[in-house]
């Protein structure tokens, strides 16, 4: 990384929309005849078209990875600390693409979009989408942008699953994969948390079987609880203890069911905020995509065989206090890559923040990603 000048923001950005009219067959067997993908780009695609980096988003994020929108200072992108001029993914060198996944609720075709067959919002009829389906749509977006091969595909958590899937679905189109805070599939415990979240939404009386748009209502209570559960799993116990402990909001016990402990207040705040901007049908589908991700399944349980087509070089990063996708799960990915004699580096960052650490600005983590992208840049320049 060029340390000569301080990292800056990519500044004001604007999303774009690409329309795809070639039907897409989904894993579930369903098909999408046409769909829109909303995306943003930062930096410049070089003449050789060799400096593109795809950033895949996780559960609640979007195409708005870096920068901010005009007139909205609070609209900073979700990975702005990672991506920008002079940042680990340096937009003075790389052309970075962020995309809102199919089924999302930030502008790409999703459950809230009008279904041309009925003239009403898709709602519950929007198909279940998988990590592999997303990769298929991202590949079409790459075609649309004239990107034959990404210098790197990167993501954290569910985004990392997409980066991993890219390497075996399109081995020729990925130079490097940065697989951060990932797991090769969800554990029973992970699926359990997702199922509780889904049940919170589905049993909300305002869910109306997923067709709540037409009735101009939203299952915000269910979504709020779903987000509260999710949030517990993103933080480490130690981090929660350090941040909140047993602190009381008003300094004394009230012997009621109002928020008394700071952690309750925090979770309610996070849940409330989330339920205002996120769509419940999207949330259901994204948790399903997480549950279904299991590349080894079609290969007799062998992750190494599943990853055998991969030609990319890998940086796998885990965080010591991440109990949702623990370092052990990343080591399974590393082992499969080692078995396949792939180029792989693995770092285990000693960070206190749990799963959320991948979004935060830990100097060891960011220096590592910066050094890795320096290497990617040297390869491109060579």
């Amino acid at each position: 990384m060029d340390t000569g000048s301080a990292p800056r923001s990519v500044g004001v950005v604007a999303p774009q929309t690409a329309r795809f009219t070639e039907p897409l067959r989904l894993r579930s067997g369903a098909a999408m005849d046409a769909y829109d993908l909303v995306y943003e780009t930062y930096g410049r695609l070089n003449a050789e078209r060799s400096n593109a980096v795809l950033v895949c988003h996780a559960l609640n994020a979007s195409h708005h990875v870096a920068g901010r929108y005009a007139g909205d200072s609070g609209s900073t992108g979700w990975w702005d600390n990672m991506i920008g001029p002079g940042k680990p993914v340096d937009t003075d060198r790389f052309f970075v693409v962020g995309v809102n996944n199919l089924g999302g609720c930030h502008g790409s075709t999703g459950p809230a979009t009008i279904n041309p067959a009925t003239g009403k919002p898709w709602g519950a009829d929007f198909p279940v989408v998988t990590v592999e389906d997303w990769v298929a749509t991202q590949a079409r977006l790459a075609d649309h942008l004239g990107i034959r091969r990404f210098a790197a595909v990167m993501g954290g958590s569910l985004g990392a699953m997409q980066a991993l899937a890219w390497t075996y679905l399109h081995p020729e189109r990925v130079g490097h994969a940065l697989v951060i805070a990932c797991a090769p599939n969800l554990s029973a415990q992970n699926i359990a948390f997702n199922e509780v979240a889904r049940q919170a939404i589905i049993t909300d009386p305002d869910f109306l079987g997923g067709h709540y748009y037409e009735r101009d209502t939203r299952p915000t209570r269910g979504l709020r609880v779903a987000r509260m559960i999710g949030h517990i799993t993103y933080l480490s116990g130690d981090e929660m203890a350090a941040k909140f402990g047993r602190q009381l909001k008003n300094g004394k016990l009230n012997y009621t069911f109002e928020t008394e402990f700071e952690i309750e207040s925090y979770l309610r705040h996070q849940g409330g905020k989330f339920s205002e901007y996120f769509d419940a049908n999207t949330y259901l589908r994204i948790t399903k995509a997480l549950d279904y991700f299991d590349p080894a399944l079609e290969h007799g349980g062998s992750l190494a065989r599943a990853l055998a087509p991969a030609k990319a070089r890998f940086l796998v990063v885990s965080f010591t206090t991440d109990w949702r996708f623990s370092p052990q799960r990343s080591r399974e990915i590393v082992k499969a890559l080692l078995d396949n004699r792939c180029g792989v580096s693995y770092a285990e960052i000693d960070a206190p923040h749990g799963h959320d650490a991948f979004l935060l600005e830990d100097p060891r983590y960011h220096r590592l990603v910066a050094a890795y992208f320096d290497r990617v840049h040297r390869e491109i320049a060579a």
């Binding site: 070089r313 940086l315 080692l338 004699r341 580096s345 770092a347 285990e348 590592l368 320096d374 040297r378």
Partner: protein, 201 residues
């Protein structure tokens, strides 16, 4: 685990290790520091492989040097690596700092055809002299004070060879060095650093 200051300068055993490794082979470097040995071997001998390192700064150094590194504690063993998946596995100036030296030697011979270890010879006359004078040795090869040393299992050349005899380790090649110069006469007394290449006997 604290390693023996193997970052950012050329290790004394660097050449002795490098010249034992055939071009184009697959190498695993345990306790690889910032990856200088692998970087050199990649460039000079066309080897492929990985380093294993626990230290954050060294892992970053490896990535900066373009060397693939797996951040891991050698005391946990080498379970990530398949049996027989390397031609050579190198353990440079780290054996004496391992809690379980026997286990790592066995693991080395599981993952690679040949192992290469290097260690400071505790039997070197200067070390003996310091002990005779009533002190734990401190020198270029053993730079730590007794109360602040990673070296929990120091041994002599004779000790290591006894270990090999009793543990089914066949020595292929031995190089003994003092200040980079080969020592052939009275190695356990006159040699400061030992380099062994070995296989399953």
């Amino acid at each position: 685990m604290k390693t023996n200051g193997n970052s950012n300068f050329k290790r004394a055993d660097f050449d002795a290790i490098a010249e034992s490794i055939r071009p184009g082979s697959r190498v695993l470097d345990l306790g690889c520091g910032d990856g200088v040995l692998l970087k050199y071997l990649k460039g000079a001998r066309g080897v492929t492989g990985y380093g294993v390192e626990i230290d954050d700064a060294d892992v970053l150094g490896c990535v900066t040097n373009g060397v693939d590194v797996i951040q891991s504690d050698l005391e946990r063993g080498l379970s990530e690596f398949e049996s027989g998946s390397f031609d050579y596995v190198v353990l440079s100036q780290t054996l004496q700092a391992m809690m379980n030296g026997e286990r790592i030697i066995n693991d080395m011979l599981r993952v690679a055809r040949e192992g290469i270890v290097t260690f400071p010879n505790f039997g070197y006359w200067r070390n003996r002299l310091q002990v005779l004078a009533g002190h734990m040795p401190v020198s270029d090869n053993l730079p730590y004070q007794w109360h602040d040393t990673p070296n929990v299992h120091l041994c002599t050349i004779s000790d290591f060879e006894d270990f090999c005899t009793t543990h089914g380790v066949g020595i292929i090649e031995r190089k003994v060095l003092t200040r980079g110069t080969p020592v052939s006469w009275l190695p356990n007394l006159l040699g400061a650093l030992a380099v062994y290449r070995f296989q399953r006997a």
